[in-house]
């Protein structure tokens, strides 16, 4: 990204605002727009990229004044963090910014959502990720496998962490890989499946790294997956529910997300493959009795995803959507448990991996 030190970027922003003020101008900041309208699918890199649109946030504007103030305030907090070398969570930043403006009944921020958004804005303004600016999200997700790493001076063996695995931090940039002995990485959206595979020692039997989140894939996980792919050329597979939400989890890893389009280069893995659950799996493993009816919100979201530019030409996925619609039903990964609790470890996954039965 940028070779400048993060703190310099924040100072630059402050200096530019000060200069405008002292000149007698209405101080303004250009904030790139984070929305579907300003995101495009780059066919060459096959990733989502941020467009050129930005909005001007100026102080002397009734609609912008508070956000402007919030932006400068959060920038100040990030500068203090960088100065002191400490890291704060999103929640910490909220409390550091939260206070009532003297002689008013107005709070600088009322909800964490507000400070979170400003933190994202500052990433785009500075071109630095929030982790680089010393703001971390909550840890979400675990990993296990025959891998040894070094993190803040500690050596950690991902294969020797009992029933929990190693919990993936928000910032994986500083991690050093000492030994990686695996043939693939399997990422799953459900922690319960991770625990199943860990108990069954799937990662040892199949020589893989298993990795899970709970729901949406965090940046830490995405960056970790990408590093494993780029640095060790490991194939990455995704195991998710057969429903629009699972499809989107896959899509985010493969193509990037709308909110983080700016960081696509650091977070996306275009060569990732979708392992399952697929409609074909449902037929082959006789899971039709274990389907769940689609809700209206499911159908709506499915249509949205099917219409995304990066999904439009993906025939395999369009076919999946078509069949789900025809069935009016979706399938969870756990549906496999209907065939036996370790069916997934002993039969399903080995067969899928052996046959290279993936979706693009």
């Amino acid at each position: 990204m940028t070779k400048e030190k993060p703190i310099e970027k924040i100072k630059e922003l402050g200096a530019s605002i000060s200069k405008q003020i002292l000149k007698g101008d209405n101080p303004a900041i250009d904030v790139p727009i984070r929305a579907l309208s300003n995101v495009f699918f780059d066919k060459k890199s096959k990733t989502l990229q941020l467009g050129e649109s930005s909005s001007k946030r100026s102080f002397f504007n009734i609609a912008h004044a508070k956000k402007f103030l919030q932006t400068v305030e959060v920038a100040k907090i990030e500068k203090d963090l960088l100065d002191s070398g400490k890291h704060a969570s999103l929640r910490d930043v909220f409390y550091m910014a939260k206070r009532t403006i003297p002689n008013t009944s107005v709070n600088l921020v009322d909800m964490q959502q507000e400070s979170d958004e400003i933190i994202q804005d500052l990433e785009l303004i500075s071109g630095l990720s929030r982790e680089q600016l010393h703001v971390n999200a909550n840890k979400m997700g675990s990993v296990a496998g025959n891998v040894v790493i070094e993190d803040r001076g500690d050596t950690i063996d991902w294969g020797k962490l009992g029933s929990g695995g190693w919990s993936i931090p928000s910032n994986v940039e500083e991690i050093k890989f000492k030994k990686v002995n695996a043939n693939f990485v399997l990422y799953m959206e459900k922690a319960a499946i991770f625990e199943r595979l860990l108990e069954d020692k799937f990662h040892e039997k199949q020589k893989g790294i298993i990795l899970s989140s709970q729901g949406q894939t965090t940046r830490g996980i995405r960056r970790l997956l990408q590093r494993l792919y780029e640095e060790f050329e490991l194939p990455i597979y995704v195991l998710a529910d057969l429903d629009p939400w699972g499809a989107y989890i896959y899509s985010v890893i493969k193509y990037g997300s709308i909110n983080l389009a700016f960081f696509s280069k650091k977070l996306t893995i275009p060569s990732v493959k979708y392992l399952g659950i697929t409609c074909n799996d449902v037929e082959r493993y006789n899971l039709k009795k274990n389907l769940i009816k689609l809700k209206d919100t499911d159908i709506k979201r499915m249509q949205q995803i099917a219409d995304y530019e990066w999904f439009k030409d993906n025939k395999e996925w369009q076919n999946e959507f078509k069949i789900m619609k025809k069935w009016g039903a979706k399938a969870e990964i756990q549906a496999l448990s209907a065939r036996g609790i370790s069916f997934i470890t002993d039969k399903y996954l080995p067969e899928k991996l052996k046959n290279k039965d993936f979706l693009e």
Binding site: S18, I21, I62, V72, K79, I101, V106
Partner: protein
């Protein structure tokens, strides 16, 4: 419980007959005073004042005199009050004075199909009865009918068994007063302020009676003057004949008995409104009767058939000139003079009909100013200009207001509740027969026709309020927001100087300078923005058309 056999002594019909006796109305109400609104001491005070003030205004209107009254409530001891009400009305002739105040159900309005405050002739004598019951004191009445006549004074009790006056003292006096009546009563009561108190009642009375001038001295010896807001006496309401659709079977049977008409045809045409000869014939034929049947000869089942046939007949709605609404202008004026607010509006709907009775809805709305923005809106309810202070939640008015979507007009409202905001809503129903939910005349019954009309009136007021809020209140909020810049500047400067090490005061100075220059612009610009948003739609449509052309 342990059963115990009792000696049962049988009584013969003859023995029982000895115990039967005629109970006079007075004796009945002596026992059942809650039916007249005397259930508890604070409500009693309100009811006495209400009855006397209603009579005052009714008497003046009947005589076409602009009413001017005096109400004095004096606290004698903790639970005793002396109430004096005086008017400038036509007075009551000497012979009628005892009956008016000491015979229950003595009155001129009973059974008339006409819009009026009281109906049954119970009000004044009921108050006297209550006074006598609780204090044992007589009522004192002064009356004078013309300048050149003498004033008559009576001190009297109600003889409860005979339902007539028992005169204690009688005098003839000389005074300079032109004409009018003065009544003095002593009662057991309790004085309370607030939503259901006498003070509130009189405030509301003056709102729906803009032609009334009233001076009031409350028990705390505070003198309040309710000024006359309009010199227009209300249009004199006309009595109308009953409408066939609003007549009940029992009433029809009584009418048949008492009718002076010789045959059914003329009975229907003369004793009801809106029935012509064609309709009369149709009703009679359908009831399997003949035009020449004698009304008083009809048997019960025949009357019932006639009744049914009358309900089914297509009859146009009754005339509505019998109603006397307050009128938009006068309603507005009196609300303005009694309520300190910033925005006022009022609506008088056209008359319409429920169950054969004409009625008319009026609504007046006051908003902002000194009204509390944090609470539910205040609703004032009136029936034939009389305030209704009890049973609010059972009233059709409240139902209609709750069913209205106030969020569309800029107020907060959770569904099924009264909206929240700095608003007073006064709703008046004028009718020859107001359908109350109970004898106590406290809440209006939920007739769909009535609810619909109230809603339409209230919605129109709401729409006007909404426009006002959008125009003025939002603009004011904008100004308030703009004033926040002053407060934001030091915050911005201090954070910024921490990042850049720039001098904080220099930044503040520069920002303040810029603010001074921009402030008028900031407010204007933002208002313009807002207007653009509204017009924007229109402008855009125009452009679309042009581009497609």
């Amino acid at each position: 419980m342990k059963e115990k056999k009792e000696e049962i002594e049988q009584k013969s019909a003859e023995e029982l007959a000895k115990e039967l006796k005629q109970v006079s109305v007075s004796a009945f109400f002596e026992r059942n005073r809650h039916l007249l609104g005397y259930d508890n001491p604070s409500k009693a005070l309100l009811t006495v004042v209400k009855e006397l003030v209603d009579n005052l205004v009714d008497a003046c209107e009947d005589a076409r005199i602009l009413p001017e009254g005096v109400v004095i409530i004096k606290q004698l001891n903790e639970t005793r009050f002396l109430i004096t009400v005086e008017d400038n009305g036509p007075g009551i002739v000497k012979e009628n004075l005892p009956s008016v105040f000491c015979s229950l159900l003595y009155g001129s309005k009973f059974g008339k199909n006409k819009q009026s405050r009281g109906l049954q002739g119970i009000g004044a004598s009921g108050a006297v009865l209550y006074s006598q019951l609780t204090t044992g004191k007589p009522v004192k009445v002064w009356s004078k009918t013309a300048k050149d006549k003498k004033m008559h004074f009576y001190e009297m009790f109600i003889d409860v068994h005979k339902n007539q006056a028992e005169i204690k003292k009688e005098e003839t006096l000389d005074t300079t007063k032109a004409h009018g009546v003065k009544v003095e009563l002593e009662i057991e009561a309790r004085y309370q302020k607030g939503k259901q108190g006498v003070d509130e009642y009189l405030i509301q009375t003056s709102i729906t009676n803009p032609h009334l001038q009233l001076s009031y001295v409350n028990p705390n010896n505070e003198k309040i003057i309710f000024k006359r807001a309009s010199n227009n006496l209300p249009k004199e309401p006309k009595a109308i004949k009953p409408h066939p659709h609003g007549t009940e079977l029992g009433v029809l049977m009584r009418m048949l008995k008492e009718s002076k008409s010789r045959n059914l045809q003329s009975f229907l045409m003369n004793d009801f409104c809106r029935i012509g000869s064609g309709t009369a014939q149709e009703i009679i034929t359908k009831a399997l009767l003949t035009v020449n049947d004698k009304p008083h000869n009809l048997m019960h089942d025949q009357a019932e058939k006639l009744y049914k046939s009358m309900q089914e007949a297509k009859v146009i709605a009754p005339p509505t000139d019998c109603l006397s609404p307050i009128g938009e202008k006068d309603f507005l004026k009196s609300v303005q003079s009694e309520i300190k607010a910033e925005f006022y509006t009022s609506v008088t709907r056209s008359p319409t009909v429920y169950r054969g009775y004409p009625f008319q809805i009026e609504c007046s709305l006051a908003a902002f100013g000194e009204l509390n923005p944090e609470e539910s809106i205040k609703v004032m309810r009136f029936a034939n200009r009389v305030p209704l202070l009890y049973q609010q939640s059972a009233c059709a008015t409240i139902e209609a207001i709750k069913e209205t979507n106030w969020r569309a007009y800029g107020l907060q409202q959770s569904s099924g509740n009264l909206p929240i905001g700095p608003v007073i809503l006064a709703v008046h129903i004028a009718s020859v027969w107001v359908p109350f939910t109970s004898e106590a005349k406290e809440a209006i019954a939920h007739y769909p026709e009535i609810i619909k009309e109230i809603k339409l009136a209230v919605q129109e007021c709401g729409r006007r309020l909404g426009i006002y809020i959008r125009k003025n209140v939002r603009a004011r909020e904008q100004k308030e927001k703009a004033s926040l810049f002053e407060k934001y500047i030091p915050e911005l400067a201090s954070s910024l100087s921490e990042i850049t090490k720039e001098n904080k005061n220099k930044l503040i100075e520069a920002l303040n300078k810029r603010l001074k220059k921009d402030l008028p612009l900031l407010i204007e610009v933002s208002e313009e923005d807002k207007d653009k948003k509204i017009e924007g739609v229109v402008v855009q449509n125009k452009n679309d058309k042009q581009t497609t052309l």
